[in-house]
């Protein structure tokens, strides 16, 4: 799975997520990626999220929308992402990751899996990581 979120000069947010799914999936299996609120969500009033991970777990907690729900409740992009991933892990045992932005350009790349390659480009600088804490 791959994905991206962005904020432009006008403060508009957007998300995009694409995947080949999971290895040896049943023919016809559709995971979280194309489902609104699961593989991605974007709302200028809150922010945007692109998600990855255990697709069926992600769908059961509507991960992308859950992150934005926590932001609506006043959480930061980072805290909202962590709370949502922790909820998915505790409630349905799923691991995954998200990239999240708010309309002001605050961003987070958080994951509960062992690794997730990510990069943020802002103010002509690149921030990137692969393992937790990077």
């Amino acid at each position: 799975t791959v994905g991206a979120v962005a904020v432009d000069n006008e403060g508009n947010v957007a998300c995009a997520t694409s995947t080949g799914g999971v290895l040896n999936k049943m023919e016809g299996r559709v995971g979280d990626t194309p489902c609104i609120g699961c593989g991605g969500y974007a709302d200028n009033q809150v922010g945007a999220v692109s998600a990855t991970g255990h697709g069926e777990a992600n769908m059961r907690v509507t991960l992308a929308r859950l992150v934005l729900f926590h932001m609506e409740q006043g959480q930061s992009v980072e805290a909202a992402s962590d709370l949502s991933l922790a909820y998915m892990k505790s409630r349905v045992g799923g691991l995954g990751g998200v990239v999240t932005v708010d309309p002001q350009g605050q961003w987070a790349a958080r994951f509960s899996s062992l690794q997730m390659p990510w990069v943020a480009a802002q103010k002509d600088a690149l921030h990137y990581g692969l393992y937790t804490g990077e």
Partner: protein
């Protein structure tokens, strides 16, 4: 407000020999998206460009390089969403489109629907002139090797907790 692009390359385990290529791939994709923002482009243009680059990079499981299903075939899903309008477009189970993310955007821009699947998505692609490619062209040697290895090691029905 500070324009930004944030890109991910998936949460699945990456073999050590492939981590460098994965990180360089997401860096290139983020740069491409950010260049669009710097030129005054929209956040939608930026995310579609970033994801298109990753779909075209065989080191990622989307587009060319997608993992294979139980029959050894590619079936891809994609979504876009625009925070300004809450417009959204998605496709699922498409097999012979190089860039499903661009097809998802066309679903958003050109139809009144939010999700088209399988043959319906392909019919839509044909109707608006999106080129179809041989499905085999999206299968890499690595994805076929992983499929064969996994098929030999696991019963087909054991699908729980694999990550996309």
């Amino acid at each position: 407000m500070l324009p930004v692009v944030v890109v991910h390359g998936g949460a699945s385990d990456i073999p050590k020999g492939r981590t460098g290529k994965s990180v360089s791939g997401v860096r290139s994709a983020a740069r491409a998206g950010y260049t669009i923002l710097q030129g005054g482009g929209s956040s939608m243009d930026a995310v579609v460009e970033a994801v298109t680059q990753l779909e075209n990079n065989p080191f990622f499981s989307a587009g060319c390089g997608s993992v294979l299903n139980i029959k050894g075939e590619v079936e891809m899903d994609a979504i876009v969403m625009d925070g300004k309008t809450l417009g959204s477009g998605a496709v699922s189970a498409v097999r012979n489109i190089t860039n499903p993310i661009q097809l998802a955007r066309l679903v958003m821009d050109k139809t009144s629907h939010t999700l088209l699947t399988a043959e319906g998505a392909n019919q839509f692609a044909r109707s608006i002139g999106v080129p179809e490619v041989p499905p085999e062209s999206l299968i890499t040697e690595y994805s076929r090797m992983c499929w064969e290895k996994d098929l030999a090691a696991n019963p087909a029905e054991c699908q729980m907790w694999k990550m996309g």
